[in-house]
Amino acid sequence: MGKRDLLRGNEVIAEAAIRAGCQCYFAYPITPQAELLEHMARNMPRLGRTFVQAESEIAAVSMVYGAAAAGVRTMTSSSSPGISLKQEGISYLAGSNLPAVIVNVVRGGPGLGDIAPSQCDYFQATKGGGHGDYHMIVLAPSTVPEAGELTMLAFELADRYRTPVMILTDGLLGQMMEPVELPEPIDPASIPAKPWATTGASGRDPNIILSFDLDPEVLRQMNLDLQAKYRRIEEAELRYEETMTEDADLVIAAHGTMARIAETVVRRAREEGLKVGLFRPITVWPFPYEPLRELSSHVSTVLTVEMSAGQMWEDVRLAVAERAATPFYGEMGGIVPTPRDILSEVRKHAG
Protein backbone atom coordinates (compact mmCIF):
# COMPACT_ATOMS: atom_id res chain seq x y z
CA MET A 1 0.00 0.00 0.00
CA GLY A 2 0.88 3.60 -0.03
CA LYS A 3 1.03 3.29 -3.80
CA ARG A 4 -0.86 5.94 -5.69
CA ASP A 5 -2.70 4.95 -8.88
CA LEU A 6 -4.16 7.20 -11.52
CA LEU A 7 -7.77 6.07 -11.64
CA ARG A 8 -11.22 7.22 -12.68
CA GLY A 9 -13.89 7.86 -10.07
CA ASN A 10 -15.98 4.99 -11.40
CA GLU A 11 -13.08 2.56 -11.11
CA VAL A 12 -12.25 3.75 -7.63
CA ILE A 13 -15.82 3.19 -6.46
CA ALA A 14 -15.77 -0.30 -7.96
CA GLU A 15 -12.38 -1.16 -6.46
CA ALA A 16 -13.38 0.26 -3.08
CA ALA A 17 -16.52 -1.90 -3.14
CA ILE A 18 -14.37 -4.95 -3.76
CA ARG A 19 -12.07 -3.96 -0.91
CA ALA A 20 -15.10 -3.38 1.33
CA GLY A 21 -15.99 -7.04 0.84
CA CYS A 22 -18.76 -6.69 -1.74
CA GLN A 23 -19.56 -10.30 -2.67
CA CYS A 24 -22.30 -9.78 -5.22
CA TYR A 25 -22.65 -7.01 -7.77
CA PHE A 26 -25.59 -6.74 -10.15
CA ALA A 27 -26.16 -4.00 -12.73
CA TYR A 28 -27.35 -3.00 -16.15
CA PRO A 29 -25.14 -0.90 -18.46
CA ILE A 30 -25.64 2.85 -18.69
CA THR A 31 -23.42 5.85 -19.39
CA PRO A 32 -21.69 7.44 -17.49
CA GLN A 33 -21.08 4.54 -15.08
CA ALA A 34 -19.86 1.96 -17.61
CA GLU A 35 -16.31 1.82 -16.18
CA LEU A 36 -17.73 0.81 -12.83
CA LEU A 37 -19.63 -2.12 -14.35
CA GLU A 38 -16.62 -3.07 -16.46
CA HIS A 39 -14.24 -3.02 -13.51
CA MET A 40 -16.59 -5.35 -11.66
CA ALA A 41 -16.96 -7.62 -14.70
CA ARG A 42 -13.16 -7.93 -14.91
CA ASN A 43 -12.49 -8.45 -11.24
CA MET A 44 -15.39 -10.04 -9.39
CA PRO A 45 -15.26 -13.47 -11.13
CA ARG A 46 -11.46 -13.53 -10.75
CA LEU A 47 -11.99 -13.19 -7.00
CA GLY A 48 -14.63 -15.92 -6.92
CA ARG A 49 -17.36 -13.34 -6.36
CA THR A 50 -20.58 -12.70 -8.23
CA PHE A 51 -20.97 -10.38 -11.19
CA VAL A 52 -24.28 -10.54 -13.05
CA GLN A 53 -25.26 -8.24 -15.89
CA ALA A 54 -28.97 -8.15 -15.17
CA GLU A 55 -31.75 -7.83 -17.74
CA SER A 56 -32.77 -4.45 -16.34
CA GLU A 57 -32.20 -2.16 -13.40
CA ILE A 58 -35.36 -3.54 -11.80
CA ALA A 59 -33.92 -7.03 -11.97
CA ALA A 60 -30.51 -5.84 -10.77
CA VAL A 61 -31.89 -4.22 -7.63
CA SER A 62 -34.12 -7.26 -7.02
CA MET A 63 -31.02 -9.46 -7.15
CA VAL A 64 -29.39 -7.09 -4.68
CA TYR A 65 -32.46 -7.55 -2.49
CA GLY A 66 -32.00 -11.33 -2.57
CA ALA A 67 -28.26 -11.22 -1.95
CA ALA A 68 -28.66 -8.70 0.88
CA ALA A 69 -31.33 -10.92 2.45
CA ALA A 70 -28.91 -13.85 2.21
CA GLY A 71 -26.46 -11.81 4.27
CA VAL A 72 -23.68 -10.80 1.89
CA ARG A 73 -22.37 -7.34 1.06
CA THR A 74 -23.89 -6.36 -2.24
CA MET A 75 -24.05 -3.40 -4.60
CA THR A 76 -25.63 -2.11 -7.76
CA SER A 77 -24.79 0.98 -9.77
CA SER A 78 -26.47 2.98 -12.47
CA SER A 79 -27.23 6.48 -13.68
CA SER A 80 -30.38 8.55 -13.45
CA PRO A 81 -32.89 6.74 -15.73
CA GLY A 82 -31.71 3.42 -14.33
CA ILE A 83 -31.98 4.69 -10.77
CA SER A 84 -35.61 5.60 -11.48
CA LEU A 85 -36.20 1.93 -12.27
CA LYS A 86 -34.46 0.88 -9.07
CA GLN A 87 -36.84 2.86 -6.88
CA GLU A 88 -39.15 -0.12 -6.35
CA GLY A 89 -36.26 -2.20 -5.07
CA ILE A 90 -34.85 0.61 -2.95
CA SER A 91 -38.21 1.05 -1.24
CA TYR A 92 -38.31 -2.71 -0.56
CA LEU A 93 -34.73 -2.69 0.75
CA ALA A 94 -35.59 0.15 3.11
CA GLY A 95 -38.88 -1.44 4.18
CA SER A 96 -37.23 -4.82 4.80
CA ASN A 97 -34.24 -3.32 6.65
CA LEU A 98 -31.71 -4.72 4.22
CA PRO A 99 -28.17 -3.37 3.83
CA ALA A 100 -27.08 -2.58 0.28
CA VAL A 101 -25.10 0.03 -1.62
CA ILE A 102 -26.48 1.82 -4.65
CA VAL A 103 -24.33 4.11 -6.78
CA ASN A 104 -25.94 6.85 -8.85
CA VAL A 105 -23.58 8.48 -11.34
CA VAL A 106 -26.05 11.22 -12.12
CA ARG A 107 -26.58 12.55 -15.65
CA GLY A 108 -28.73 15.29 -17.08
CA GLY A 109 -32.51 14.74 -16.98
CA PRO A 110 -35.47 14.53 -16.95
CA GLY A 111 -36.41 11.65 -19.24
CA LEU A 112 -33.52 10.29 -21.22
CA GLY A 113 -31.69 13.57 -20.65
CA ASP A 114 -28.06 13.40 -21.71
CA ILE A 115 -24.88 11.78 -20.46
CA ALA A 116 -23.30 14.93 -19.06
CA PRO A 117 -22.81 15.49 -15.32
CA SER A 118 -25.70 16.78 -13.25
CA GLN A 119 -27.02 16.89 -9.71
CA CYS A 120 -30.65 16.79 -10.73
CA ASP A 121 -31.39 13.57 -8.80
CA TYR A 122 -30.89 15.16 -5.38
CA PHE A 123 -34.61 15.15 -4.56
CA GLN A 124 -34.96 11.55 -5.68
CA ALA A 125 -32.00 10.48 -3.56
CA THR A 126 -32.70 12.44 -0.40
CA LYS A 127 -36.46 12.74 -0.22
CA GLY A 128 -37.44 9.15 -0.83
CA GLY A 129 -37.65 8.55 -4.55
CA GLY A 130 -39.65 5.38 -4.18
CA HIS A 131 -42.91 4.90 -2.33
CA GLY A 132 -43.34 5.01 1.41
CA ASP A 133 -41.92 6.83 4.42
CA TYR A 134 -38.28 5.95 4.09
CA HIS A 135 -34.85 7.45 3.67
CA MET A 136 -31.50 6.11 2.74
CA ILE A 137 -28.13 7.42 3.78
CA VAL A 138 -26.79 9.42 0.82
CA LEU A 139 -23.07 10.15 0.57
CA ALA A 140 -21.82 12.76 -1.91
CA PRO A 141 -18.08 12.58 -2.61
CA SER A 142 -16.34 15.56 -4.17
CA THR A 143 -13.01 14.00 -5.15
CA VAL A 144 -11.96 10.68 -6.58
CA PRO A 145 -10.15 9.57 -3.41
CA GLU A 146 -13.16 10.54 -1.35
CA ALA A 147 -15.37 8.47 -3.64
CA GLY A 148 -13.30 5.47 -2.58
CA GLU A 149 -13.42 6.32 1.11
CA LEU A 150 -17.15 6.95 1.09
CA THR A 151 -17.79 3.69 -0.77
CA MET A 152 -16.01 1.82 2.03
CA LEU A 153 -18.05 3.80 4.55
CA ALA A 154 -21.27 3.10 2.64
CA PHE A 155 -20.90 -0.65 3.17
CA GLU A 156 -20.11 -0.13 6.83
CA LEU A 157 -23.12 2.12 7.43
CA ALA A 158 -25.41 -0.16 5.41
CA ASP A 159 -24.56 -3.07 7.71
CA ARG A 160 -24.58 -1.00 10.90
CA TYR A 161 -28.07 0.34 10.28
CA ARG A 162 -29.46 -2.38 7.99
CA THR A 163 -30.33 0.20 5.38
CA PRO A 164 -29.68 1.00 1.75
CA VAL A 165 -26.94 3.59 1.29
CA MET A 166 -26.45 5.61 -1.87
CA ILE A 167 -23.29 7.07 -3.32
CA LEU A 168 -24.52 10.14 -5.16
CA THR A 169 -22.02 11.34 -7.70
CA ASP A 170 -21.97 12.43 -11.31
CA GLY A 171 -20.27 11.77 -14.63
CA LEU A 172 -17.61 14.38 -14.00
CA LEU A 173 -16.27 12.59 -10.94
CA GLY A 174 -16.99 9.21 -12.48
CA GLN A 175 -14.82 9.93 -15.50
CA MET A 176 -12.21 12.11 -13.83
CA MET A 177 -8.75 10.60 -13.33
CA GLU A 178 -6.94 11.45 -10.15
CA PRO A 179 -4.05 9.95 -8.28
CA VAL A 180 -5.48 7.89 -5.43
CA GLU A 181 -4.20 5.73 -2.71
CA LEU A 182 -6.80 2.99 -2.67
CA PRO A 183 -8.25 2.09 0.71
CA GLU A 184 -6.94 -1.04 2.44
CA PRO A 185 -9.18 -4.09 1.99
CA ILE A 186 -11.21 -4.78 5.08
CA ASP A 187 -10.77 -7.88 7.16
CA PRO A 188 -13.86 -9.95 6.25
CA ALA A 189 -14.08 -10.95 9.91
CA SER A 190 -14.85 -7.31 10.71
CA ILE A 191 -18.20 -7.51 8.88
CA PRO A 192 -20.88 -7.68 11.57
CA ALA A 193 -22.71 -10.99 12.02
CA LYS A 194 -26.15 -11.07 10.41
CA PRO A 195 -28.25 -13.43 12.50
CA TRP A 196 -31.37 -12.16 10.72
CA ALA A 197 -30.24 -13.24 7.24
CA THR A 198 -31.83 -16.05 5.22
CA THR A 199 -28.86 -18.38 5.41
CA GLY A 200 -30.88 -21.52 6.03
CA ALA A 201 -32.90 -22.22 9.19
CA SER A 202 -30.43 -24.66 10.68
CA GLY A 203 -30.52 -24.81 14.47
CA ARG A 204 -32.70 -21.73 14.70
CA ASP A 205 -36.21 -20.54 13.85
CA PRO A 206 -36.80 -19.45 10.26
CA ASN A 207 -35.77 -15.93 9.31
CA ILE A 208 -38.31 -14.02 7.26
CA ILE A 209 -37.46 -10.93 5.25
CA LEU A 210 -40.42 -8.76 4.41
CA SER A 211 -41.52 -5.16 4.14
CA PHE A 212 -45.20 -5.47 4.82
CA ASP A 213 -47.97 -6.36 7.18
CA LEU A 214 -51.64 -6.08 6.36
CA ASP A 215 -52.40 -5.13 9.95
CA PRO A 216 -52.14 -1.32 10.12
CA GLU A 217 -51.12 -1.48 13.78
CA VAL A 218 -48.19 -3.71 12.96
CA LEU A 219 -47.21 -1.70 9.89
CA ARG A 220 -47.39 1.45 11.96
CA GLN A 221 -44.94 -0.06 14.42
CA MET A 222 -42.65 -1.11 11.56
CA ASN A 223 -42.75 2.51 10.38
CA LEU A 224 -42.07 3.83 13.87
CA ASP A 225 -39.06 1.53 14.10
CA LEU A 226 -37.80 2.82 10.75
CA GLN A 227 -38.23 6.41 11.86
CA ALA A 228 -36.42 5.70 15.14
CA LYS A 229 -33.55 4.30 13.11
CA TYR A 230 -33.49 7.45 10.96
CA ARG A 231 -33.30 9.59 14.10
CA ARG A 232 -30.31 7.51 15.29
CA ILE A 233 -28.64 8.01 11.92
CA GLU A 234 -29.26 11.75 12.06
CA GLU A 235 -27.68 11.81 15.51
CA ALA A 236 -24.61 9.82 14.70
CA GLU A 237 -23.82 10.06 11.03
CA LEU A 238 -23.96 13.70 9.94
CA ARG A 239 -20.92 14.48 7.84
CA TYR A 240 -20.00 17.84 6.37
CA GLU A 241 -17.00 20.02 5.77
CA GLU A 242 -16.43 23.73 6.24
CA THR A 243 -13.68 25.56 4.38
CA MET A 244 -12.62 29.07 5.41
CA THR A 245 -15.90 29.74 7.14
CA GLU A 246 -14.47 31.19 10.39
CA ASP A 247 -14.44 34.80 9.16
CA ALA A 248 -16.66 34.36 6.12
CA ASP A 249 -19.40 36.79 5.23
CA LEU A 250 -20.65 34.73 2.32
CA VAL A 251 -20.76 30.97 2.36
CA ILE A 252 -21.22 28.84 -0.71
CA ALA A 253 -23.27 25.72 -0.05
CA ALA A 254 -22.48 22.98 -2.53
CA HIS A 255 -22.11 19.20 -2.58
CA GLY A 256 -20.17 16.70 -4.63
CA THR A 257 -18.44 17.88 -7.78
CA MET A 258 -19.94 21.33 -7.43
CA ALA A 259 -18.31 21.74 -4.03
CA ARG A 260 -14.96 20.91 -5.50
CA ILE A 261 -15.37 23.65 -8.10
CA ALA A 262 -16.63 25.99 -5.39
CA GLU A 263 -13.40 25.41 -3.48
CA THR A 264 -11.49 27.01 -6.35
CA VAL A 265 -13.97 29.88 -6.23
CA VAL A 266 -13.37 30.36 -2.51
CA ARG A 267 -9.61 30.59 -3.08
CA ARG A 268 -10.00 33.10 -5.92
CA ALA A 269 -12.50 35.17 -3.98
CA ARG A 270 -10.11 35.29 -1.04
CA GLU A 271 -7.38 36.51 -3.41
CA GLU A 272 -9.76 39.33 -4.29
CA GLY A 273 -10.21 40.05 -0.60
CA LEU A 274 -13.77 38.71 -0.42
CA LYS A 275 -14.57 36.84 2.77
CA VAL A 276 -15.99 33.70 1.22
CA GLY A 277 -16.22 30.22 2.68
CA LEU A 278 -17.62 26.85 1.69
CA PHE A 279 -20.14 24.61 3.42
CA ARG A 280 -20.14 21.11 1.95
CA PRO A 281 -22.59 18.46 3.12
CA ILE A 282 -21.00 15.02 2.71
CA THR A 283 -24.12 13.25 3.90
CA VAL A 284 -26.88 14.91 1.89
CA TRP A 285 -29.23 12.64 3.81
CA PRO A 286 -29.12 13.16 6.69
CA PHE A 287 -28.63 16.80 5.74
CA PRO A 288 -26.51 18.81 8.19
CA TYR A 289 -29.26 21.31 9.04
CA GLU A 290 -27.95 22.21 12.51
CA PRO A 291 -24.36 23.01 11.54
CA LEU A 292 -25.56 25.11 8.62
CA ARG A 293 -28.11 26.88 10.82
CA GLU A 294 -25.35 27.66 13.29
CA LEU A 295 -23.07 28.92 10.52
CA SER A 296 -25.79 31.02 8.90
CA SER A 297 -26.20 33.16 11.98
CA HIS A 298 -22.64 34.47 11.47
CA VAL A 299 -22.85 35.26 7.76
CA SER A 300 -24.95 37.53 5.62
CA THR A 301 -25.35 35.21 2.66
CA VAL A 302 -25.52 31.50 1.94
CA LEU A 303 -25.22 31.05 -1.82
CA THR A 304 -26.30 27.61 -2.99
CA VAL A 305 -24.59 26.39 -6.14
CA GLU A 306 -25.82 23.25 -7.85
CA MET A 307 -26.00 21.49 -11.17
CA SER A 308 -29.76 21.54 -10.93
CA ALA A 309 -32.66 23.97 -10.77
CA GLY A 310 -32.15 24.27 -7.02
CA GLN A 311 -32.84 21.05 -5.19
CA MET A 312 -30.40 21.10 -2.28
CA TRP A 313 -31.33 24.79 -2.17
CA GLU A 314 -34.58 23.73 -0.43
CA ASP A 315 -32.64 22.07 2.39
CA VAL A 316 -30.34 25.07 2.65
CA ARG A 317 -33.32 27.40 3.01
CA LEU A 318 -34.85 25.10 5.61
CA ALA A 319 -31.64 25.27 7.59
CA VAL A 320 -30.94 28.98 7.19
CA ALA A 321 -34.53 30.19 7.47
CA GLU A 322 -34.35 33.99 7.67
CA ARG A 323 -30.91 34.20 9.26
CA ALA A 324 -29.12 35.07 6.03
CA ALA A 325 -29.88 35.75 2.40
CA THR A 326 -30.16 32.51 0.42
CA PRO A 327 -29.58 33.18 -3.28
CA PHE A 328 -29.15 30.34 -5.75
CA TYR A 329 -26.97 29.77 -8.75
CA GLY A 330 -27.31 26.68 -10.88
CA GLU A 331 -26.97 25.13 -14.27
CA MET A 332 -28.97 22.33 -15.82
CA GLY A 333 -28.87 19.82 -18.61
CA GLY A 334 -25.29 18.76 -18.03
CA ILE A 335 -23.73 22.22 -18.10
CA VAL A 336 -21.10 22.51 -15.40
CA PRO A 337 -20.81 26.03 -13.91
CA THR A 338 -17.23 27.27 -14.21
CA PRO A 339 -15.35 28.91 -11.34
CA ARG A 340 -15.58 32.16 -13.27
CA ASP A 341 -19.40 31.92 -13.49
CA ILE A 342 -19.67 31.25 -9.80
CA LEU A 343 -17.18 33.94 -8.89
CA SER A 344 -19.19 36.61 -10.67
CA GLU A 345 -22.24 35.36 -8.78
CA VAL A 346 -20.28 35.60 -5.54
CA ARG A 347 -19.21 39.16 -6.32
CA LYS A 348 -22.85 40.11 -6.84
CA HIS A 349 -23.84 38.94 -3.37
CA ALA A 350 -20.65 39.71 -1.48
CA GLY A 351 -21.55 43.26 -2.49
Binding site: Q23, C24, F26, T50, V52, A54, E55, S56, I58, A59, A60, S62, M63, V64, Y65, G66, A67, A68, A69, A70, G71, V72, T74, E88, G89, Y92, S96, T198, T199, G200, A201, S202, G203, P206, N207, I208, I209, L210, S211, F212
Partner: protein
Protein backbone atom coordinates in the same frame (compact mmCIF):
# COMPACT_ATOMS: atom_id res chain seq x y z
CA UNK B 1 -62.83 -38.68 16.37
CA UNK B 2 -61.21 -41.58 18.20
CA UNK B 3 -58.62 -43.44 16.23
CA UNK B 4 -57.44 -46.79 17.50
CA UNK B 5 -53.68 -46.58 17.06
CA UNK B 6 -52.95 -50.08 18.32
CA UNK B 7 -53.56 -51.70 14.98
CA UNK B 8 -53.64 -48.54 12.83
CA UNK B 9 -50.68 -46.82 11.23
CA UNK B 10 -50.73 -43.23 10.16
CA UNK B 11 -50.23 -43.21 6.41
CA UNK B 12 -50.85 -39.55 5.69
CA UNK B 13 -50.19 -36.46 7.76
CA UNK B 14 -49.14 -32.87 7.56
CA UNK B 15 -45.60 -32.50 6.16
CA UNK B 16 -43.02 -31.70 8.84
CA UNK B 17 -41.69 -28.74 6.84
CA UNK B 18 -44.99 -26.92 7.10
CA UNK B 19 -45.81 -24.65 10.00
CA UNK B 20 -49.07 -25.04 11.88
CA UNK B 21 -50.38 -21.79 10.33
CA UNK B 22 -53.84 -22.06 8.81
CA UNK B 23 -53.89 -21.19 5.15
CA UNK B 24 -55.35 -17.89 4.00
CA UNK B 25 -56.63 -19.35 0.74
CA UNK B 26 -60.29 -19.65 -0.21
CA UNK B 27 -62.08 -22.98 0.15
CA UNK B 28 -61.02 -25.41 -2.56
CA UNK B 29 -58.17 -23.27 -3.90
CA UNK B 30 -55.33 -25.29 -5.37
CA UNK B 31 -52.68 -23.04 -3.82
CA UNK B 32 -53.23 -25.14 -0.69
CA UNK B 33 -52.58 -28.46 -2.41
CA UNK B 34 -49.37 -27.06 -3.85
CA UNK B 35 -48.26 -25.88 -0.44
CA UNK B 36 -48.63 -29.42 0.88
CA UNK B 37 -46.76 -30.89 -2.07
CA UNK B 38 -43.86 -28.48 -1.64
CA UNK B 39 -43.74 -29.21 2.09
CA UNK B 40 -43.73 -32.94 1.38
CA UNK B 41 -40.92 -32.52 -1.15
CA UNK B 42 -38.81 -30.53 1.31
CA UNK B 43 -39.39 -33.31 3.86
CA UNK B 44 -38.44 -36.08 1.46
CA UNK B 45 -35.27 -34.36 0.31
CA UNK B 46 -34.36 -33.33 3.87
CA UNK B 47 -33.54 -29.78 2.78
CA UNK B 48 -35.64 -27.62 5.11
CA UNK B 49 -32.55 -26.29 6.89
CA UNK B 50 -31.10 -24.88 3.72
CA UNK B 51 -34.22 -23.92 1.79
CA UNK B 52 -35.25 -20.33 1.10
CA UNK B 53 -38.77 -19.61 -0.13
CA UNK B 54 -39.30 -16.55 -2.29
CA UNK B 55 -42.90 -15.42 -1.79
CA UNK B 56 -44.53 -13.35 -4.52
CA UNK B 57 -47.25 -10.73 -4.51
CA UNK B 58 -50.61 -12.37 -5.08
CA UNK B 59 -52.82 -14.69 -3.04
CA UNK B 60 -49.65 -16.54 -2.05
CA UNK B 61 -48.00 -13.42 -0.64
CA UNK B 62 -48.10 -15.13 2.77
CA UNK B 63 -46.15 -18.15 1.49
CA UNK B 64 -43.35 -17.13 3.88
CA UNK B 65 -45.68 -18.27 6.68
CA UNK B 66 -46.31 -21.77 5.39
CA UNK B 67 -42.88 -23.40 5.49
CA UNK B 68 -40.47 -24.06 8.32
CA UNK B 69 -37.66 -22.53 6.32
CA UNK B 70 -36.21 -19.10 5.69
CA UNK B 71 -38.23 -16.89 3.37
CA UNK B 72 -38.17 -13.59 1.57
CA UNK B 73 -41.17 -11.65 0.35
CA UNK B 74 -40.38 -10.21 -3.10
CA UNK B 75 -41.83 -7.28 -5.03
CA UNK B 76 -44.56 -8.15 -7.54
CA UNK B 77 -42.99 -10.08 -10.40
CA UNK B 78 -39.42 -10.02 -9.12
CA UNK B 79 -39.29 -13.37 -7.33
CA UNK B 80 -37.06 -15.01 -9.95
CA UNK B 81 -34.58 -12.11 -9.75
CA UNK B 82 -34.62 -12.19 -5.94
CA UNK B 83 -34.08 -15.96 -6.11
CA UNK B 84 -31.11 -15.30 -8.40
CA UNK B 85 -29.63 -12.92 -5.82
CA UNK B 86 -30.00 -15.43 -2.99
CA UNK B 87 -28.65 -18.35 -4.98
CA UNK B 88 -25.66 -16.36 -6.22
CA UNK B 89 -24.95 -15.16 -2.69
CA UNK B 90 -24.96 -18.73 -1.37
CA UNK B 91 -25.17 -21.56 -3.92
CA UNK B 92 -25.57 -24.07 -1.10
CA UNK B 93 -29.06 -22.75 -0.38
CA UNK B 94 -32.04 -24.38 -2.08
CA UNK B 95 -34.05 -21.49 -3.44
CA UNK B 96 -37.56 -21.73 -4.79
CA UNK B 97 -39.74 -18.97 -6.17
CA UNK B 98 -43.50 -19.45 -5.94
CA UNK B 99 -45.29 -17.17 -8.39
CA UNK B 100 -48.80 -16.62 -9.74
CA UNK B 101 -49.47 -16.03 -13.43
CA UNK B 102 -49.75 -12.28 -13.03
CA UNK B 103 -46.54 -12.22 -11.05
CA UNK B 104 -44.56 -14.59 -13.25
CA UNK B 105 -46.00 -14.08 -16.71
CA UNK B 106 -47.05 -10.42 -16.75
CA UNK B 107 -45.28 -7.93 -14.51
CA UNK B 108 -42.32 -10.28 -14.02
CA UNK B 109 -41.96 -11.27 -17.67
CA UNK B 110 -38.39 -10.01 -18.03
CA UNK B 111 -37.19 -11.36 -14.68
CA UNK B 112 -38.83 -14.74 -15.34
CA UNK B 113 -37.40 -15.24 -18.81
CA UNK B 114 -33.92 -14.07 -17.97
CA UNK B 115 -33.56 -16.16 -14.84
CA UNK B 116 -34.49 -19.14 -17.02
CA UNK B 117 -32.13 -18.02 -19.80
CA UNK B 118 -29.21 -17.73 -17.39
CA UNK B 119 -30.03 -21.27 -16.30
CA UNK B 120 -30.10 -20.16 -12.68
CA UNK B 121 -29.96 -23.24 -10.47
CA UNK B 122 -33.30 -22.47 -8.86
CA UNK B 123 -36.78 -24.00 -8.77
CA UNK B 124 -39.77 -21.98 -9.91
CA UNK B 125 -43.36 -22.98 -9.18
CA UNK B 126 -45.65 -21.08 -11.53
CA UNK B 127 -49.31 -21.16 -10.51
CA UNK B 128 -51.51 -20.64 -13.54
CA UNK B 129 -55.08 -19.94 -12.41
CA UNK B 130 -55.92 -17.68 -15.39
CA UNK B 131 -56.91 -14.81 -13.18
CA UNK B 132 -55.58 -12.22 -10.73
CA UNK B 133 -56.88 -13.75 -7.53
CA UNK B 134 -55.71 -11.32 -4.94
CA UNK B 135 -56.87 -8.11 -6.53
CA UNK B 136 -60.36 -9.36 -7.23
CA UNK B 137 -60.41 -11.43 -10.39
CA UNK B 138 -58.98 -9.25 -13.15
CA UNK B 139 -57.73 -10.63 -16.46
CA UNK B 140 -54.41 -12.46 -16.28
CA UNK B 141 -52.09 -12.93 -19.28
CA UNK B 142 -53.24 -16.55 -19.13
CA UNK B 143 -56.99 -15.85 -19.09
CA UNK B 144 -58.79 -17.94 -21.69
CA UNK B 145 -60.40 -16.46 -24.80
CA UNK B 146 -63.91 -15.29 -23.87
CA UNK B 147 -63.15 -15.77 -20.15
CA UNK B 148 -65.13 -13.30 -18.10
CA UNK B 149 -63.08 -11.43 -15.55
CA UNK B 150 -63.67 -8.16 -13.75
CA UNK B 151 -61.62 -6.33 -16.40
CA UNK B 152 -63.06 -8.32 -19.31
CA UNK B 153 -66.71 -8.30 -18.28
CA UNK B 154 -67.79 -9.29 -21.77
CA UNK B 155 -65.13 -11.99 -21.93
CA UNK B 156 -61.51 -11.81 -23.10
CA UNK B 157 -61.55 -10.47 -26.64
CA UNK B 158 -58.38 -11.50 -28.47
CA UNK B 159 -58.82 -8.62 -30.93
CA UNK B 160 -58.36 -6.23 -28.03
CA UNK B 161 -56.11 -7.98 -25.56
CA UNK B 162 -54.56 -10.93 -27.36
CA UNK B 163 -54.57 -14.60 -26.52
CA UNK B 164 -53.63 -16.53 -23.38
CA UNK B 165 -49.87 -16.61 -23.16
CA UNK B 166 -48.23 -20.03 -23.04
CA UNK B 167 -45.30 -18.85 -21.01
CA UNK B 168 -43.76 -22.23 -20.34
CA UNK B 169 -43.66 -22.90 -24.07
CA UNK B 170 -41.87 -19.56 -24.53
CA UNK B 171 -39.29 -20.46 -21.92
CA UNK B 172 -38.96 -23.90 -23.47
CA UNK B 173 -37.48 -22.18 -26.54
CA UNK B 174 -34.41 -21.27 -24.50
CA UNK B 175 -31.29 -23.41 -24.44
CA UNK B 176 -30.46 -23.14 -20.75
CA UNK B 177 -33.43 -24.51 -18.77
CA UNK B 178 -33.09 -28.05 -17.46
CA UNK B 179 -36.66 -28.99 -16.79
CA UNK B 180 -39.95 -27.39 -17.78
CA UNK B 181 -43.24 -29.10 -17.23
CA UNK B 182 -46.93 -28.29 -16.97
CA UNK B 183 -48.99 -30.15 -14.41
CA UNK B 184 -52.44 -29.95 -12.82
CA UNK B 185 -54.23 -30.85 -9.61
CA UNK B 186 -57.79 -31.61 -10.70
CA UNK B 187 -57.70 -35.29 -9.70
CA UNK B 188 -55.63 -37.72 -7.69
CA UNK B 189 -53.63 -38.91 -10.66
CA UNK B 190 -52.65 -35.33 -11.60
CA UNK B 191 -51.83 -34.56 -7.97
CA UNK B 192 -49.45 -37.51 -7.92
CA UNK B 193 -47.92 -36.35 -11.22
CA UNK B 194 -47.43 -32.88 -9.79
CA UNK B 195 -45.79 -34.36 -6.69
CA UNK B 196 -43.35 -36.18 -8.93
CA UNK B 197 -42.66 -33.10 -11.06
CA UNK B 198 -42.04 -30.85 -8.08
CA UNK B 199 -39.76 -33.41 -6.53
CA UNK B 200 -37.78 -33.56 -9.78
CA UNK B 201 -37.61 -29.78 -9.91
CA UNK B 202 -36.11 -29.62 -6.41
CA UNK B 203 -33.85 -32.62 -7.00
CA UNK B 204 -32.44 -30.91 -10.06
CA UNK B 205 -31.41 -28.00 -7.90
CA UNK B 206 -29.94 -30.23 -5.21
CA UNK B 207 -27.95 -32.01 -7.92
CA UNK B 208 -26.89 -28.67 -9.42
CA UNK B 209 -28.58 -29.42 -12.72
CA UNK B 210 -29.91 -25.92 -13.28
CA UNK B 211 -33.20 -24.16 -13.85
CA UNK B 212 -36.48 -26.03 -13.30
CA UNK B 213 -39.96 -24.66 -13.88
CA UNK B 214 -43.15 -26.40 -12.84
CA UNK B 215 -46.25 -24.69 -14.16
CA UNK B 216 -49.32 -25.89 -12.34
CA UNK B 217 -52.81 -25.36 -13.72
CA UNK B 218 -54.66 -24.19 -10.69
CA UNK B 219 -58.17 -23.12 -9.78
CA UNK B 220 -59.62 -19.93 -8.41
CA UNK B 221 -63.15 -20.98 -7.44
CA UNK B 222 -63.81 -17.57 -5.93
CA UNK B 223 -63.07 -15.47 -8.97
CA UNK B 224 -64.15 -18.06 -11.50
CA UNK B 225 -67.44 -18.06 -9.64
CA UNK B 226 -67.53 -21.85 -9.73
CA UNK B 227 -67.67 -24.44 -7.00
CA UNK B 228 -64.35 -26.15 -6.23
CA UNK B 229 -65.63 -29.31 -7.88
CA UNK B 230 -66.86 -27.50 -11.00
CA UNK B 231 -63.51 -25.70 -11.08
CA UNK B 232 -61.68 -29.02 -11.20
CA UNK B 233 -63.86 -30.15 -14.06
CA UNK B 234 -63.23 -26.86 -15.87
CA UNK B 235 -59.49 -27.40 -15.66
CA UNK B 236 -59.81 -30.99 -16.86
CA UNK B 237 -62.18 -30.26 -19.74
CA UNK B 238 -61.37 -26.71 -20.88
CA UNK B 239 -58.13 -25.33 -19.50
CA UNK B 240 -56.00 -28.32 -20.46
CA UNK B 241 -57.14 -27.84 -24.06
CA UNK B 242 -55.40 -24.46 -24.09
CA UNK B 243 -52.56 -25.43 -21.77
CA UNK B 244 -51.66 -29.05 -22.53
CA UNK B 245 -50.14 -31.05 -19.69
CA UNK B 246 -46.75 -32.70 -19.80
CA UNK B 247 -43.02 -32.12 -19.95
CA UNK B 248 -41.78 -29.43 -22.34
CA UNK B 249 -38.08 -29.74 -21.58
CA UNK B 250 -36.20 -32.43 -19.71
CA UNK B 251 -32.46 -32.15 -20.13
CA UNK B 252 -31.33 -33.76 -16.90
Amino acid sequence: MQVETADMVKVFSRPQSLTAAKSTYCPGCHHGILTRIIGKTIDELGIAERTVCIAPVGCSVFAYNWYRCDAIQAAHGRASAVATGVKRADPNLIVFAYQGDGDFASIGTAESIHAANRGENITVIFVNNQVYGMTGGEMAPTSLVHQKTTTTPAGRDPAQVGYPIRFSEMIAQLDAPTYITRQALFDTRRILDTEEAIKKAFENQVNEKGYSLVEVLSTCPTNWRMSPIASNKHVADVVTEVFPLGDLVDRR
